[in-house]
Amino acid sequence: MGNLRSVHQALRTVAPDASITVTGDPQQVAQATRVVFPGQGAMPDCMRELDARGLRSAVLEAAHNKPFLGICIGLQMLFEHSAEGDIPGLGVLPGKVVRFASNLRDAQGHKLKVPHMGWNEVHHAVHPLWQDIPQDARFYFVHSYYVQPQDEQLVQATSCYPLPFVCAVARDNLFAVQFHPEKSQSAGLALLRNFVNWKPD
């Protein structure tokens, strides 16, 4: 999941007139008006790739200054530390990334699998990116780790597996989600459409 082509395709659908580029070039990130930061696979690999391509400062700059959407590992990388590989993240947001416990059970006592994979309900706060998205709409998730922000004010949405966990955060020009809007059918496309139209103060 986190297939770059899928993100590109979904953005093209919601913004047919926009110029959308899949890039690993810091220059292009610097020149973009909006940045989507998807991540796939394991966070240590993503962090290594980011530095190998010299993207760290361009991403940090974008995360502080222009409409920025993190997706999946792209959310997790924004935090200070991840239990996956016990590594530091970009430290844009205070908090850490932890793994779902093993041997989780639902209310009926059935085993809950990790990764948390499939469509789960998203309980969201009020933010321009949730416009036209019903409360508790389902989005597609696939992940074994989740974020624990230090600052409650960052939290934009939670989901349950079986306990509540944070699945969206926002601060100023930045928004980031654990689920995959590009694979979440109409609700996901609505969120991406809201992002491409978003004008943060």
């Binding site: 999941m1 986190g2 297939n3 082509r5 899928s6 395709q9 979904a10 659908t13 796939q40 696979g41 394991a42 690999d45 093993s102 639902d106 059935h110 085993k111 809950l112 699998k113 990790v114 990764p115 948390h116 994979m117 499939g118 469509w119 789960n120 309900e121 389902r138 597609y140 998730f141 696939v142 992940h143 349950c160 597996y161 079986p162 995959h180 590009e182 694979k183 979440s184 059918q185 996901g188 496309l189």
Partner: protein, 252 residues
């Protein structure tokens, strides 16, 4: 809470969706892109495409199909069939697949699963297991579309695949495939209880109660079916409504 997934499966050959009985006797079911769109509209949670093309000449067709589907359908797409090397995984992901399913090649070369998961992440690696009952509480893994026995135990094999980095197991009962008598629930239960990763039950769905049983009795995280949807017996939405009535959490 997390919904149980319903996954229509499209067996594709020569650009058409087909369906056989116990892996033989293929019957035409229509155009894959059109069918994919219809299932998406009906609320399918994911789609799985299995390229069952025998000749390597036609291998390019599946890429064009996936590209077209990915332009119009924004739910996870899994593609399997003929995946032999990491490059095949890359090509399918580039065509628009979100997950790639590996079956025979995982048996011939288990390292492929580790390499592909290492490169692209476990989340996009599905290992498909075709299993056939070999005795009470024992199932054997078969490869090559069910034609070749391996002598391996299905539960142990599934555990090994989890260890090597599979993100999910697509478990097909060869005894039940195309028979419409329901999933092999004992097989499903044995595999899902032995694993931490999700298991998709496959093979044998003939009515909506079978889907319910797969989840409730088999313990499956997702259920896969083909013919009950292809030939218009039920829509995906009817299947989900029925499951919801039986107390199963689904995305409606």
């Amino acid at each position: 809470m997390l919904a149980k997934r319903i996954i229509p499966c499209l067996d594709v050959t020569a650009g058409r969706v087909v369906k056989g009985v116990s892996f033989v006797e293929l019957r035409d079911a229509g155009d894959p892109v059109e069918i994919a769109r219809r299932y998406d509209e009906q609320g399918a949670d994911e789609l799985t495409f299995l390229d069952i093309t025998a000749s390597s000449d036609d291998r390019g067709i599946i890429f064009r199909i996936i590209e077209q589907v990915a332009e119009q359908v924004f739910i996870p797409l899994t593609v399997g069939g003929g995946v032999r090397q990491v490059e095949d995984v890359r090509n399918l992901l580039n065509a628009g697949a979100d997950k790639v399913s590996i079956n025979t090649s995982a048996v011939l070369n288990p390292q492929l699963v580790a390499d592909a998961a290492g490169r692209y992440g476990s989340q996009c690696i599905v290992v498909a297991i075709d299993a056939k009952q070999a005795g009470p509480g024992r199932w054997e893994v078969f490869t090559h579309g069910g034609r070749r026995a391996t002598g391996m135990d299905a539960v142990e094999w599934a555990q090994k695949m989890q260890t090597l980095g599979a993100g999910e197991i697509l478990l097909t009962s060869m005894d039940r495939d195309g028979q419409k008598t329901g999933f092999d629930l004992a097989l499903t239960r044995a595999v899902t209880d032995a694993l931490e990763i999700p298991v998709i039950a496959s093979g044998g769905v003939g009515n909506l109660q079978h889907l319910v049983d797969g989840v409730k009795l088999g313990g499956a995280d997702a259920v896969l079916a083909a013919s009950i949807f292809h030939y218009g017996e039920y829509t995906v939405r009817q299947a989900k409504q029925y499951m919801a009535q039986q107390g199963i959490e689904v995305r409606l």
